[in-house]
Subunit: 209 residues, 2 copies
DNA sequence: CCTGATCTCAACCCCAGGGTTGAGGCTTGG
DNA sequence: CCAAGCCTCAACCCTGGGGTTGAGATCAGG
């Protein structure tokens, strides 16, 4: 039985190219084509395809949002994302939103067909580059960026990120609370933070917690 | 031109099964079969195949180590890993070592063939489960474990994690500051938090930020 | 040896944030 | 239809957090 596919891309050339290309592949039926994200979701609702092949950058509703909607509302439809640049910011977002596959636009017909078949089967095909970045992200995590903070300020920041109060931090570092406040004021100024909530976020982004 | 494959699995049944199964697939040539990791590496050296299909658990040299050796010494040979359990500890290790694809042993013939073709092509096919875990690891996926927070409370928590003040949150959500404070009090009680600093840490741990 | 950076501390002010109580409107499901 | 949960808002209190100023002690480096 053939895999039923909806294609979504705002560029007519790409869209039509994909449709004709996919029609030549055995085992794949293109049932509809959308020119933006909103239309894509609507066509998925209408046709309930096995796979949605969607571009990341589109007007109205972008690929990430379309993916999220499709995956939550029509979970039997798998999503394969197609993009021009594999280093696009939104690649990870798309994967998190539930995209099954990931292709760059220089993929050939077999590669695209394979990704669609795989997605319909519950497997996941990733562009090599994307996979590499995923693995790096998953394994090699923190690079503890420095930010001109003194060691002591970093200590304090870490404890703030653990949710400790000033008195608790003072006890922990065996200094007075006044000292803690001083350090905090300094690091707030350096890092341009307003309060400890922002400091916690900052610490997490720095990889300190 | 056919993809040349070396198979490696210590269990004779599995190994022979794979070989006969792969021989039935068009576009795939099995050129050799190894019964442990050391032999696998040796056969790769000898035949320089396009793809090595290797089991994770094997005597002498395990799948991870075999992958690493093959990828460093014979980089033109891609590696597809086959394992019984997708939650195996060494899955990530294998991927880090350079494995291109990842299959569980309940994959059917087409799935295996697809993975091999994809690997030979520079793509990467992952078992659905493995992909999910990769993404979670890489981007702290939103694990729907919301600990009983209401949607609105989650909204507020997210904004707290962005470092916004109550008045800013109120503006952003188009409600009064009193409402924001109510939500905050509720979520603090539910999640056992003392102040917004702890809330930020909590949000990050939940993957909301 | 002086300078600058860091760490330490104190006293003060002010207010955003957090706790509490109470209450009205809105869906939803039994 | 009523109960329950959620979202909304108000008024009050009070503490901890954050801003500011100022200052002594130590230490590395020019």
């Amino acid at each position: 039985m053939s895999v039923r596919v909806v294609v979504a891309d705002d560029q007519r050339v790409v869209r039509d190219g994909l449709v004709t290309l996919l029609k030549l592949l055995p085992g794949i039926d293109v049932v509809a084509a959308a020119s933006d994200g909103a239309e894509a979701v609507q066509l998925v609702a209408e046709h309930r395809p096995d796979v949605l092949l969607v571009d990341l950058r589109m007007p109205n509703v972008d690929g990430v949002e379309a993916t999220r909607q499709v995956r939550t509302e029509y979970p039997q439809t798998e999503v394969v994302v197609l993009t021009t640049y594999s280093d696009d910011e939104s690649v990870l977002s798309a994967l998190r939103a539930g995209a099954r596959g990931f292709l760059t636009k220089d993929a050939d017909a077999e590669a695209i067909g394979r990704a669609i078949q795989a997605a319909a089967d519950g497997q996941s095909i990733l562009d090599a580059d994307v996979q590499r970045r995923l693995i790096e992200g998953a394994v090699a995590a923190p690079k503890a960026v420095d930010s001109g903070l003194t060691p002591r300020e970093v200590d304090v920041l870490r404890l703030i990120a653990e949710g400790l109060s000033n008195t608790e931090i003072a006890r922990r570092l065996v200094v007075s609370e006044a000292t803690v406040k001083t350090h905090i004021n300094h690091l707030f100024a350096k890092a341009n933070l307003r309060d400890r909530a922002q400091a916690v976020a900052y610490a997490y982004r720095l990889g300190l917690a």
